[in-house]
């Protein structure tokens, strides 16, 4: 059965709602759910103070309303499914290790930060630090997938160590900065300073981009691994051109300030173009 949570009120003050996750709410009755504590600003409140609750959760939660000010939904979740029919707030699915979150609207900053498994799909745009690490830490996305159909802010995949981030729109500056490993695929424009301080990992762009002076051009080639990724995305219903699968890519390696084992692949239909 699906648990429906409908946000009743218009929020100015953020709600700390890490509790909204199948892990925490599964098996509870409606009245028990209504009493589950959460923090509104600096006060302890209950879920029932803010949400119309119907149904129970056996793995799936549907959230209706504008969740922009609701933080940390699905954080640390290990399985199940959350659907947000609207926008989501900061820290969506941060540190999650399994399950799936789908957002119809936009997502906030730190979406999927430090997550280690599962999948987040954002239909709209997402904020800064998607799949990133929190300040001072060096443990960004460690596994799982984040797919953003719109644009993202700066530092997508900061310090990521594994997993996949797909951005169908544009990404901001410092995409994949401090990256240790993993894959970022951007279909729109890349911001500047892509891959700064990256050690390993792949950043793929379907558009041209200027790279830092510490990146070196290696070659134009047809990376076979990428075919796997793109076909996999196509299977998920994302539209991918044949040319992007069949075509060639310019490979740049860097960042020579670090291990120099990372790569930026820039799509180019044919040699030299």
């Amino acid at each position: 059965m699906v648990l429906d949570l409908k946000l009743r009120t218009q929020l100015d003050i953020p709600l700390e709602a890490g509790i909204i996750s199948p892990d925490r709410l599964a098996g509870l009755t409606e009245s028990e759910i209504a009493r589950v504590p959460l923090i509104h600003g600096n006060r302890k409140k209950s879920l029932g103070d803010f949400f119309d609750i119907s149904g129970t959760c056996d793995g799936e939660i549907r959230l209706v309303g504008d969740f922009t000010k609701v933080k940390s939904v699905g954080s640390g979740m290990t399985g199940g499914r959350i659907i947000i029919e609207g926008n989501s707030g900061m820290h969506l699915g941060c540190a999650m290790s399994g399950g799936e979150i789908a957002v119809e609207g936009d997502a906030g900053d730190w979406t999927g930060a430090e997550m280690s498994g599962g999948r987040i799909v954002i239909k709209g745009n997402a904020g800064h630090m998607v799949g990133g690490a929190y300040r001072g830490g060096h443990m960004g996305l460690q596994g799982g997938e984040i797919i953003v159909h719109g644009n993202t802010g700066n530092e997508a995949g900061n310090s990521m160590r594994n997993g996949l981030i797909v951005i169908m729109g544009n990404s901001g500056d410092f995409t994949g900065a401090n990256m240790f490993s993993g894959t970022i695929i951007v279909f729109g424009e890349l911001g500047i300073r892509t891959g700064a301080s990256m050690k390993r990992g792949s950043i793929i762009s379907m558009r041209h981009a200027d790279l830092l002076p510490t990146f070196t051009y290696s070659c134009f080639y047809h990376p076979s691994f990428l075919r796997l990724y793109l076909r996999r995305l196509r299977d998920m219903g994302i539209s991918i051109d044949d040319a992007q699968i069949e075509g060639g890519y310019h490979r740049w390696c860097g960042d020579s300030m670090e291990l120099n084992r990372g790569e930026v692949l820039l799509f180019s239909g044919s040699p030299g173009s």
Binding site: Y134, R135, G136, G137, H138, M139
Partner: protein
């Protein structure tokens, strides 16, 4: 008022070893007796000890705060909630000040000494210590790389040197003289990150040797009759073969009192640049046979640590070995250097396992617990939070054996296993190395014991075969007679005192120091001293001048 009854009292300073007797408390002091209406604590099945005294830790001041600021990731998952009586904070290897105070208290520690503050940062250290609740505290000032003192040494002006040391202790309201890698800052800062290696090799630009610095300050501290002697972090910390430097440093004291700190890090054999070996037996043999020398161990404990040291070249070396991105160097004009980096000791690494075993060797081969006391050089060797575990390692040989089976066996094969197999510390010995001993070494007459007149700093632990649990969760903690932890519950916040020495000195020395300040410092001489006015609760230890004729 308080009467603690039925507890087994371990008060080594007063030769009480597990005797069941009453302890009475009034007005923050231990007293002979209290009226019948005083609260009684039935300590049946419990052990009563003086509050713990940490002789060497890093809990306040410029470098500690840099290390704190450096590691938000270390604080995030170790938080301290605010309660109606206590402030919130964060933990990790470098906890916030409030958390530091509360966490020491929740281990039954009531006094802790910050071991390395550049004099220029004294005002800062005082501010942090004022925000470190419950415990009494003080700090040692870094003098082993002080340019003005070098000038005086070079010119052989030993009397001026002594007066300057006294002035500095007064000006900073600090507790002791600390030397870190004496002579090392000048090559580090002035000669493209070089370092000193030998005690008798002249430091190029200064025309003096590290040995002269050590000797000069050991003598000055002794001549000034300071309650705690020169507290020395020897040269060549962490380097293979450094035990000879350590022995030489101890010899340099020539029979005068000296305290060698975190000596575990200075007990290595082997060739410079290659794998270390244990020279713990040689080092401890020297200490056992030289009553003028005391030391704290600086045990390493596996897990996360933060290296923070006045020994900047060492941190640079470690940084280049560990590959961690984060590294801090901070030079303090005319006085000191500093290096910081996050670190983790790992069981499977040869060197780390060896360091761990060397620390245990030192403890287990020591013949005089009064002179070899417990420390982890928090947070360099590990957090003070690991003291209970360390106590268990010392008291429980089966546990020790079990732990030994988890570490790099190649390292264990390099030491004499028989040193680690047998001995178990007694409760009385633990009471010595964690409270009575450090208090005596610090010259804190009212601490580390439960005799009449002592500060009523008391820890009461429930007896338990698992010593880690026993020492990790005291049943009662009393500070200055205040019930801080009452039956495991944190009941009261409390403001501890700052302890500092106030040695008499010849004010003419200011005429020597002032011009140097005007030339080479960027802060005015008159703005440098920390005045009594800017301290809150503090306790000066005035030191009368004996007639000195040296």
């Amino acid at each position: 008022m308080l009467r603690i009854v039925n507890g087994k009292v371990h008060d080594p300073a007063n030769d009480i070893d597990g005797e069941v007797r009453d302890i009475c408390v009034k007005d923050g002091k231990i007293v002979e007796s209290v009226p019948a209406e005083a609260r009684r604590i039935d300590a049946h099945g419990m052990v009563v000890m003086p509050g713990g005294v940490d002789i060497h830790c890093h809990i306040a001041g410029p470098k500690v705060n840099l290390a704190r600021k450096l590691q938000p990731e270390d604080h995030r998952y170790d938080v301290q909630h605010r309660t109606p009586i206590t402030r919130s904070g964060t933990g990790g290897t470098v906890p916030s000040t409030f958390t530091t105070g509360y966490r020491y208290a929740t281990l039954g520690y009531t006094t802790a000494m910050e071991a390395a503050v550049p004099p220029l940062g004294a005002r800062h250290a005082h501010e942090e210590l004022q925000d470190t609740p419950v415990i009494d505290k003080g700090f040692y000032i870094l003098m082993g790389n002080n340019i003005l003192l070098y000038d005086l040494l070079k010119e052989g002006r030993f009397k001026d040197l002594r007066e300057a040391v006294a002035w500095w202790l007064n000006a900073t309201k600090s507790y002791a003289v600390k030397l870190v890698n004496p002579g090392g800052d000048e090559p580090w800062k002035g000669q493209r990150n070089a370092n000193v290696t030998k005690l008798d090799k002249k430091i190029d630009s200064l025309d003096i040797t590290p040995r002269q610095v050590i000797k000069g300050l050991v003598d000055a501290a002794a001549d000034l009759d300071l309650p705690h002697p020169a507290h020395i972090h020897c040269n060549n910390l962490g380097h293979s073969g450094n035990y000879e430097t350590t022995l030489e440093t101890m010899r340099t004291a020539e029979g005068r009192r000296v305290h060698i700190t975190h000596i575990q890090f200075h007990s290595y054999g082997g060739e410079l640049g290659s794998e270390p070996l244990s020279k713990a037996p040689e080092i401890i043999e020297y200490i056992n046979t030289h009553p003028n020398v005391s030391a704290d161990v600086g045990q390493i404990m596996f897990g996360k640590a933060t290296i923070m040291t006045g020994d900047a070249p060492l941190s640079w070396l470690l940084r280049n070995l560990s590959g961690d991105k984060k590294w801090v160097n901070a030079d303090t004009e005319c006085e000191s250097g500093c290096g910081i980096l996050p670190f983790a000791y790992q069981e499977h690494i040869y060197t780390h396992a060896l360091q761990w075993a060397i620390g245990l060797e030192l403890f287990l081969l020591s013949k005089d617990p009064w002179r070899l006391v417990l420390s982890t050089d928090h947070p360099n060797g590990g957090s003070f939070a690991s003291y209970p575990r360390l106590i268990r390692l010392l008291m429980d040989r089966n546990f020790r054996k079990e732990e030994m089976s988890k570490v790099n066996q190649r390292a264990l094969r390099k030491i004499n296993r028989s040193h680690l197999d047998e001995r178990e510390y007694t409760l009385q010995e633990i009471a010595i190395i964690t409270r009575a001993g450090p208090a005596r070494l610090l010259g804190l007459r009212d601490k580390g014991h439960l005799g009449v007149g002592a500060d009523a700093d008391i820890a009461i632990y429930t007896e338990d075969d698992n010593k880690e649990e026993m020492f990790g969760v005291p049943r009662y903690v009393i500070k200055d007679g205040q019930m801080i932890i009452d039956n495991h519950e944190f009941k009261n916040d409390h403001e501890g005192r700052t302890l500092h020495v106030a040695p008499a000195y010849d004010h003419d020395i200011e005429q020597v120091i002032r011009p140097f300040f005007e030339d080479f410092y960027t802060i005015r001489f008159d703005n440098y001293p920390v005045t009594e006015h800017s301290l809150t609760l503090h306790q000066p230890f005035p030191i009368e001048r004996r007639s000195i004729n040296r």
